[in-house]
Each structure stands twice: as structure tokens, then as C-alpha cells.
């Protein structure tokens, strides 16, 4: 694919912590981890989705002014960031596997609306729905 959405950034409170979470607990791989002075451009990707990267960004100055960075850190920690959805083949199996690795689930798998869904958060507070793909 030559056109389309390539990177979506996610605010996290700590890049090392987020990297460990998305790689070790969710099975993503590191796509780019580049540093330039104090700045770190860090993206991960799902093994089945080579054309899409999730950017793990910290709200901090000088990219943002200090007050905005603080406000964003608070919003992330309050779970106020927009919804994220992870599709899986088998929600219950993914739940069992991720839970054993210490992922903080907010909702156990529930079968409804012709699918199965569960909910979890990353260490920063970003909320994910995990939905079983239909068929």
C-alpha cells in the first residue's frame, strides 16, 4: 500500500514503559526508535500490519508548552484520550495470554452483538477495546 494512514501517535507517560508494554505484553515490534538530542521518535507496529505504526509520544516541552504538556499528562492519566480498538482472532485466548503477562483489564470478555469484546488499559491510562473479528 502506497497511500493511507501511516502513523497515529499516542500520548504515553513514559516511552520506555510504553515500549515494554506494547512489545512484551501485546506482541508489537519496534519500527523506529530514533533519538535526536533529548527527542525520541518511537513507533511500534502490529506484526500483521506492516503499513501502520503506532507512535508512542510523550507530551513534553519544547514540542508543547509546559502547561499544555502537564494538561495532557493529566488527561492521559484520567483515561480521557479517544478510543482505541484492537482486533483479534480469539478474544478469550488473547485475554488469557495478556492477563497472564500482567495487562490491566477493565472488562473481561463478553459475548454480545455477534462478537466478543474485552477492555484493557496501557500503563499510561489509554483505554483499548479488544474485539474479536467476525468470521
Amino acid at each position: 500500500m502506497n497511500q493511507g494512514v501511516n502513523v497515529v501517535g499516542l500520548y504515553v507517560r513514559d516511552q520506555d514503559e510504553a515500549l515494554q508494554f506494547y512489545v512484551e505484553k501485546l506482541g508489537f515490534s519496534v519500527h523506529t526508535d530514533a533519538r535526536n538530542g533529548g527527542y525520541r521518535w518511537l513507533t511500534v507496529q502490529h506484526p500483521d500490519q506492516p503499513s501502520f505504526q503506532l507512535g508512542l509520544c510523550t507530551p513534553e516541552s519544547p514540542t508543547l508548552d509546559a502547561a499544555s504538556a502537564q494538561a495532557l499528562r493529566e488527561l492521559v492519566a484520567k483515561g480521557a484520550m479517544p478510543p482505541l480498538v484492537l482486533m483479534v482472532d480469539d478474544c478469550q485466548a488473547a485475554y488469557d495470554r495478556m492477563r497472564a503477562r500482567g495487562v490491566e483489564f477493565t472488562q473481561e470478555p463478553i459475548a454480545r452483538y455477534g462478537s466478543v469484546d474485552a477492555g484493557f488499559r496501557d500503563p499510561s491510562g489509554n483505554g483499548w477495546k479488544m474485539v474479536q473479528s467476525r468470521g
Partner: protein, 158 residues
Amino acid sequence: MGQDPDILRRLLRAKDRVDGASQEEWPIRRLARVSGVSEAHFARSFKEAFGLPPHRYLLTRRIERAVALLRDTDLPITDIAFQTGWGSLGTFGRTFRDVTGESPGELRARERAATHELAPVPACYVAAAHRPDLTIAVSEKRRLEADGKNDPHETEVI
């Protein structure tokens, strides 16, 4: 001004637990323990973070679930009252009317009569979007309505 993000993250954990089991009892002691925050600070910190006191947040979640069950199932209203955490049908009916402005039976009848096209939106997000916006205490809402005022949103009351 501003709150410590690490404490906010822990308050979020308590909010998540309420979301996951709003039919249960959530005394401050239990919530404070989930968050690792002292009981003395929990309610104030929670309100500062999420805009309403923890017990009122619990109330909005219970009403939200009751509305969904009234709309989407054929469960008797008594069953819905107990499933969503009320100790008596009377308390449920009175609180429900105070918050939503109609009785559980009226809401069910109205929802059934209307045509809905909610299906394409993930259900959890729809539920959150339809959560009652309880900016004032239920007791205050009762008082204002008794006084004949009809715009309680003008008055933010703790």
C-alpha cells in the same frame, strides 16, 4: 492547580472498577484502597479529577445500565432494579425518575416506540454517550424541581 498524573492514573483504576461492577457497593474505603489514596483525600481528589463525587458517578453508571436493560431486554423492572444495584424497587423508581425525568416504565415504553439506529457505533461508546449528565446532586435536583425551577444546570452544587 493541576493534579499529579500518577495519582490520577490510580484514581482512574477506581473509576474503572466502578464501571466494571456498578451493581456492587462502593464505599469510599473500598475505592480508596483500589487507588492507594487515603480515605480522607479520595472523594475530593476524585471529584477534582472527574467532575463529580464518586457516589454520584456510581449513580450515573447504575442509571445508564438500567436504561440499557430497559431498552434492550424484556427483563421485569424489579429484576433490573436489583441487577443494577438498588436495594429496593421504590428507591430505584424514585431515583430513576429524579435523574431522568421519567419512570422506568415510561422510559421503556418511549424507547420501544422510537426507531433507533445505534447499531453501527460500538455499544460501549454509545452507552457512555448516553450517560446521564448529573451535574448536581439528586437531592438538589429534587429541591429545585419542588421550587418550580427548571434549569438546574445553572447551579453547580457539590
